[in-house]
Amino acid sequence: MTKVRVSMEVNQQMRDAQIEPRLLLVSFLREELGLTGTHVGCETTNCGACTVLLDGRGVKSCTVLALQAEGKKVTTIEGIGTAENLNPIQLAFWEKHGLQCGFCTPGMILASYELLEAEPDPDEKVIREALSGNLCRCTGYVNIIKSVKYAAKLRKKGMRGMRKGAA
């Protein structure tokens, strides 16, 4: 099959490549660009581990063609914070134990990111609804909800953080 050119902005950097049209966005990010922070869980559009932001909206990147992101802005977990400069949502998940194995966490954090951009001070109902496309098999969600609420506070204060031992 003939390859085609795709270009998009990933974490504020222009990226392009020759790809097979059937390449999924998640494979483009992980395999072409080496951004393995985006996880692959179910591969069947159910779990949300592969969530990335496409023009600011959370999508399941295992169910989007790379070509559907042509000319758009993609944000992955690597794009919102680093070990030296954690995003407040990352900091909040860490402090409130919003993760155990961490597999769902990049997706949870990006879905929370979209939510907090739209609603800086969400209540529990709104948080649960916003995360209803993201499954977690470890935490039972309680600490995830706490983390998002705490993230909302940290964002208001403009607080970011540093991972222990980083830098």
Binding site: M1, R22, E43, T44, T63, E70, A111, S132, G133
Partner: protein, 289 residues
Amino acid sequence: MNPKSFEYHAPKSVAEASSLAEEYGMDAKFLAGGQSLIPLMKLRLLSPSHLIDLGRIPGLSYIRDEGNHLAIGAMERIAEIARSDLVRKQCPILSQCAHQIADPLVRNMGTIGGNLSHADPTNDMPAVMVAAGASIVAASGQGSRVIPAGDFFVDTFTTALKGTEILVEVKMPIGPTRRGAYLKLERQAGDFGIVGVAAVLEMSSDGRCVAAGIALTGVGPTVVKATRAGEILKGVELDKNTIDRASRAAAEEAQPSGDLRGSAEYKRAMVEVMTSRTIQAAARRQAER
């Protein structure tokens, strides 16, 4: 899990998309949000050799108030419909339906045009369109035509669209005398429903129901219009006895089959319960504008 290889086309106009569909015939599929199509392609249940992406055609995403109806572009995302203040105020049934489809991530990609064209009997939008008597605009290179929603859904995964036709717009009737609701019974958040019911009532100023449309999700080969249920509500006051009779009629008109989500008997019983709740929810609504 990857789809089989295909050739990708990104037409810039409806006419161009239509002529590509004509050229490749049965080997081609239109791609909208991909939230139904891509999962099927990954499972290799469908393997079109040509994919015609409607996503780069300008001017297919909008929600406009046109007085007696809302005009919604086919590529409008379900999430935008769920978020829209205009839809919530003018057409709460559509807002309510959009909120209950899949999860926020799927809704960010999935489109109204795809939800209708896919014609899965468990897709939620079709029942709302049929109950409201909406119109669907189909276009090809040769011009466009308007298809009443009641004639649009032919069978499972089959609509009245010709292979070269693209769904371009939905016209959703609105007005001060209309009350609508869509309720859905689901096993878990974000799942397809077990049963869904759409009810749209046309109310007179003295509180009588002058016309009613009832349509059912998930209990037939395609959306089921509960015609008798609608007729029972017509011209009368919506007391408990009337609502009970209409709900029983809807349950009789349903054509459920048993599957993972429940037995046929169970689904029929749930149609009765959900129809009653939906009619009451619609009746309780304030005027839609």
